[in-house]
């Protein structure tokens, strides 16, 4: 709690304490791993999503290929968007519990927060 109070009181006058936290190796690792994971998977999800309208426009014939009875590839691809988004959400929750929340906890403990 001491460290917290120090940062809180110093907040307006001096930002060196925040710079110290930002330079802490634990924080650097946390931020690096988060940046890779979050922007990487965001880019994946966005590309996967834009494939839907692009391929629907470019290859309507492929979308029409029947897979199960009258259910075609296009329908399955659109449906897969939902499952991919859900899977990504669950994977992120698991990853965050294992990696980013743990690193954050360690950092906060080191700084004397809890």
């Amino acid at each position: 709690m001491e460290a917290a109070r120090k940062i809180e009181t110093d907040r307006t006058s001096d930002s060196r304490t925040w710079a110290d936290v930002a330079a802490n190796p634990k924080f650097v690792e946390l931020h690096r791993r988060k940046a890779y994971f979050l922007f990487g998977w965001w880019a994946f999800s966005t590309v996967y999503y834009f494939l839907l309208p692009i391929l629907a426009g470019a290859l309507p014939g492929v979308f029409g290929i029947k897979v199960f009875g009258c259910i075609n590839l296009g329908y399955l691809f659109a449906l897969s968007q939902f499952f991919v988004s859900w899977a990504l959400a669950v994977y992120y929750a698991i990853w965050a519990n294992r990696v980013s929340d743990r690193l954050t906890q360690e950092l906060l403990r080191e700084l004397g927060y809890r």
Binding site: I7, W18, T46, C70, A78
Partner: protein, 646 residues
């Protein structure tokens, strides 16, 4: 004492509104029933002359008055109890704007879903699927994928760096006054566009569903919305949204089970029912592809399950997709939901839960859309409403009636009530977001320079909510005859090009500063609005005239065999042509300057560019130094508890 006055005033407004609604409501419903008996008498005599037609398709949505009114009253009653309970717990500003950050992740997940899924999602997307098949489904995908951005990029940092409004996040290290002013303007702009679309939609829907006149419906919805927000603030809004999400999901699920049971709960059989339905085949051939004579060997039923019947311009779809994927994360009323939970972990959990609810809802919507195409037929759906908005309700009526007429009435009334609850939940969230921007950013932080007593702040919040709500009612009434479809596109465009770039860059980019935020917000907002004003969303009388001219020409060519109906069409087309031939659009154009309906593809990069260039042109050493604090806080949540207690 003041609170009591507000309360009494509101109860008065509310009871007046109800009084205004009730008699006209009863009259309109009577008329609806009368006309319906006439049409049903006609149709019951008709079958002999149309042996091919199946059971007569419903000509209109006829909700049973007593059942529907009771359902509405039950929903109003439950929400009012919730509001009174919430009002007693709303004492501080933190209660009013952020429910004291005491909402759990699960609750917030349902509330996000309730805040997000509008009547347009419930009725509109199922309608699109029932009329255009596959493309309607493809259209719905982006609304869920948008939440990946919310989950990965904005939810947790916003919880950690924010307090009540978007202005709080942006002014963390920038000069508060210009930044808050710009943020408040863009928040109010986004919310007003969205709110106007919702209010006009609500009025039209209530008019169509149960015959309440447009103005009375808007006043009624507006009075309830004001009542919820002014008295119960975020706590009441959250619970209204949770209740609505529950009702919406159960309504959709129930209807889906009925649809699925018709195909033996077998997805393969369900899609084969779609592809082999003769009415769908006719619809695709004659109305969508306009083949007067069927092409030999072409499977028109299967074509319904393939892309390209509605969304014909790939660039427009990409542009819409960009606006959805980046705009949802820039919607002030969505951002605000993350301030209601205590920690980043709860914020994360709430988005994931919301994603499952929203995704499941859109998948159910597919079944409802295709189901209404099978069981009601696209022809009958478009005859009741051109946009297909009544598809779900017609489906409920048809399938319910097959069990027993009473079940049909009950089911239809339930779905009408769900649509009603949906409207209330969405508009309440919007009113709260824009009133927070006005009272917290402009009044408390700019005019009062951040020095205001708790009770003063709460009073300011309540007064602005009342004023914003009243304005929404007024604008809704004035916009009755306007085309409001482009307003939703506009809201997403401003959110994605104005808000999102500055929020993301403030949180993740060291060099972001006041100049960047203001230029990003202003240029992003102005360009989005400007592009929508010159886009094909607006009405271009000269183009309308050209279309009418085409009809006139073709009909006049075949002079000889004009049927009575065609002669009426000809006269109408001539009239349309005369009325529109010299007109121009709202901004004085004869044809759109920008070819796409959604400006995202151009205005989002512009918004980012403006924010980045603004920051680089006017560097601020002080704000760059403060980045460490923002960055540490948004990643770790240090200081959140502190911010919450204020």
């Amino acid at each position: 004492m003041k609170k009591l006055c507000v309360l009494i005033g509101l109860v008065l407004v509310f009871s007046l509104a109800l009084n205004a609604v009730a008699p006209t409501f009863a009259r309109a419903a009577d008329e609806t029933q009368k006309t319906d008996t006439v049409t049903s008498a006609k149709t019951s005599g008709a079958p002999a002359s149309q042996p091919a037609a199946k059971a007569p398709a419903p000509k209109q949505v006829k909700a049973d008055r007593t059942i529907t009114v009771s359902m509405f009253l039950v929903i109003i009653g439950i929400t009012l109890v919730v509001v009174m309970w919430a009002a007693r717990r709303t004492k501080t500003v933190a209660d009013f704007y952020a429910a004291r950050s005491s909402i759990t992740g699960t609750q917030n997940g349902w509330a996000i879903a309730g805040d997000y899924m509008s009547a347009a999602s419930f009725l509109g997307i199922a309608g699109l699927i029932s009329l255009y098949g596959y493309d309607g489904f493809m259209y719905s995908v982006g609304w869920l994928v948008a939440y990946v951005t919310v989950l990965l990029i904005v939810a947790e940092p916003c919880r950690n760096a924010g307090k009540y409004t978007m202005g709080d996040i942006l002014s963390f290290r920038a000069s508060p006054r210009p930044v808050r002013a710009a943020a408040a303007v863009s928040t109010v702009a986004v919310s007003t566009f969205y709110l106007t679309a919702q209010m006009v939609g609500a009025g039209k829907l209530m008019e169509l569903l149960i015959g309440i006149p447009f103005k009375a419906a808007i006043v009624g919805v507006g009075a309830l919305m004001i009542f919820y927000v002014v008295l119960g603030g975020m706590i009441a809004t959250t619970w209204v949204q949770i209740i609505k999400a529950g009702l919406l999901m159960s309504g959709a699920l129930l209807l889906c089970i009925l649809v699925a049971s018709k195909s033996g709960f077998n997805p393969i059989r369900f899609f084969s029912d779609v592809a082999h339905n003769p009415q769908i085949k006719d619809w695709v051939q004659l109305s969508l592809l306009k083949d007067a004579i069927a092409k030999p060997g072409f499977d028109y039923g299967q074509r319904f399950l393939e892309p390209g019947l509605l969304l014909k311009n790939v660039w427009d779809q990409i542009s819409l997709g960009m606006a959805l994927v980046l705009g949802t994360a820039g919607m002030p009323h969505i951002l605000m939901r993350f301030f209601t939970v205590p920690t980043a972990q709860e914020a994360r959990k709430s988005v994931i839960i919301a994603m499952f609810i929203i995704g499941a809802f859109y998948i159910l919507t597919t079944l409802l859309g295709f189901g209404s195409a099978i069981h009601v037929s696209p022809q009958a759906i478009s005859a009741v409403d051109k946009g297909g908005n009544m598809a779900n309700l017609l489906l409920a009526q048809t399938l319910g009636n097959e069990i027993a007429p009473f079940v049909g009435d009950l089911f239809l009334a339930f779905l009408c009530a769900v649509a009603f609850a949906t409207i209330l939940a969405v508009v309440s969230g919007l009113v709260l977001a824009s009133s927070a921007a006005i009272s917290h950013d402009i009044y408390v932080n700019i005019i009062k320079k951040g020095v205001a007593r708790q009770d003063e702040q709460v009073r300011a919040a309540r007064i602005t909510s009342f004023v914003v709500g009243a304005m929404a009612v007024l604008i809704g009434i004035l916009a009755e005859r306007q085309n409001v479809a482009h307003l939703v596109a506009l809201a997403f465009a401003v959110a994605s090009a104005g808000n999102l770039p500055v929020v993301v860059l403030s949180l993740f980019w060291r060099k972001m500063n006041t100049a960047g935020i203001v230029s990003g917000l202003v240029i992003g907002t102005v360009f989005s609005i400007g592009l929508v004003l010159v886009s094909p969303n607006m009405v271009y009388p000269k183009l309308v005239a050209a279309d009418a001219k085409k009809i006139v020409d073709t009909l006049e060519k075949k002079q000889a065999g004009l049927t009575a109906k065609e002669q009426v069409t000809l006269a109408k087309a001539k009239e349309t042509y005369e009325a529109n031939k010299n007109g121009t659009s709202l901004v004085g154009l004869s044809a759109p300057l920008f070819p796409l309906k959604n400006p995202g593809i151009l205005c989002i990069p512009l918004g980012f560019l403006a924010a980045i260039l603004g920051s680089l042109l006017f560097r601020s050493r002080k704000e760059e130094d403060a980045f460490d604090e923002v960055y540490v806080r948004q990643n770790t949540g240090i200081g959140v508890a502190d911010a919450i207690q204020h």
